[in-house]
Symmetry: C2
Subunit: 256 residues, 2 copies
């Protein structure tokens, strides 16, 4: 459920492109990193889609998502090999031609020796017409942005470097604040009281997450809100509710 | 890109339901585990969507996906707390009522003492009419299946126990086989030759994945096919191509 918020936040969708994630070979680590960055900027990651390296799927997904969300980020598929088809698909999704971008080619010419800069590597300078480049301080080949769609590499270190240039461009709303309490109490024990607290806290979204730690069952309760006062009030209601059951209630700072 | 395959495989979509994944708090680990299990069964995970605990989003996503894929799996949102709304949403997606399932209630009555079995825990026996239960040997509260949609817990240990009961029900096609070669060669160096090999190998899907290991750049080349002979032929072409550049070519068995 989503609590109504007085502060409107822009939304974002992350499209993770890559057969290697869907086959289970590669564990995606970009989503949680991007989610936290967006949150600090006041943008809410509201959906993510993981899709294969299939042209029509990429085109359809990008076109659906760019109409539904304030921002769309893609990761993966912008390298030099035959399975890197993201840039060409983005051009098709927007109905614009793809061209050898002069600025991107100049970046690659500076980065690679003449011998190394073969046709495959130059493919990484093929960018949809009208796109703005996103610098890549790690391995040179740039990402790009077209309207509200930001196209980035899939390798986490490269994506993170690119994202540093994207962040200042985003127009964020209110930042989501969060506080987390954990206790060795199972969800079912507190569910009814928690529902009451949620009903009293329309501006706060309360999430309940069971865990097993040191062979003991427990629950983490995460309160999230763009309203600091409302968050504090809900946090105190939850803490008091937990303290009525056990003295062992801890606040965690790992929440997001 | 997807190589044409002579063996048709059923498709699957995994819907991961949970604000905690989209906020970056929880790193999903279910996708890669499910992907590998499905692959061993001859079912191809072809898409995944990560969505928030919002009723209309869950309903729309389930209804879109159950028409587009052979199988749909959901994880998350079937616990006892206010933010566990998956079961109610699935009922609405199918246009059927939700009821206190007798069999599920009996399971909970056996598992919990009378004192513990409060209304919140009994909510976990609220199952859409017409659904079949999926046993939960870890914590009792069952998942369920309605037509081609399998609804499971989000906690990995529970999800995995449930999935053991789902697997025998799935009608798999040919199993995707894979072999991986790695070398300290960058993608751009081999991209052109790799494209030639891909063009010669219509039944094999070749994926190229850069890595950094021991401060050296390298590439892993994963060949995937349902045709063992075609896979072997492509694998040998790639190995010979790599050996022309470096003697240091290793086969990895971690591929999926």
């Amino acid at each position: 459920m989503q609590a109504p918020s007085p502060h409107i936040q822009p939304t974002a969708c992350l499209i993770i492109i890559g057969n290697e994630v869907l086959s289970g070979r590669t564990q995606d680590k970009n989503l949680s990193w991007i989610a936290k960055q967006l949150n600090d900027t006041g943008v809410k990651l509201t959906e993510s889609r993981i899709i294969p390296d299939i042209e029509q799927v990429i085109i359809n997904t990008v076109n659906t998502c760019r109409k539904s969300f304030t921002y769309v980020f893609t990761t993966g598929g912008i390298g030099p090999t035959h399975d890197d088809i993201t840039s060409a698909c983005i051009a098709k999704a927007f109905g614009v031609p793809i061209e050898r971008n002069r600025q991107a080619a100049a970046i690659l010419e500076k980065h690679y020796t003449k011998e190394m800069l073969n046709e495959a590597r130059l493919k990484m300078a093929e960018i949809p017409v009208g796109a703005r480049l996103i610098p890549n301080p790690v391995s040179a080949a740039p990402g790009f942005c077209l309207e509200n769609v930001y196209v980035m590499a899939g390798v986490p270190s490269i994506m993170q470097a690119m994202f540093g240039f994207v962040i200042p461009e985003l127009k964020g709303g209110a930042k989501t604040l969060s506080r987390t309490l954990s206790a060795y109490i199972t969800e079912g024990t507190i569910a009814e009281k928690l529902t009451q607290i949620q009903n009293q806290s329309p501006e706060v979204e309360i999430g309940s997450y069971p865990f097993i730690r040191n062979q003991r069952l427990g629950t983490s309760l995460v309160s999230r809100s763009t309203n600091e006062k409302a968050l504090e009030a809900t946090f105190n209601l939850i803490r008091n509710m937990l303290l009525e059951i056990t003295p062992e209630v801890t606040e965690e700072d790992l929440a997001a």
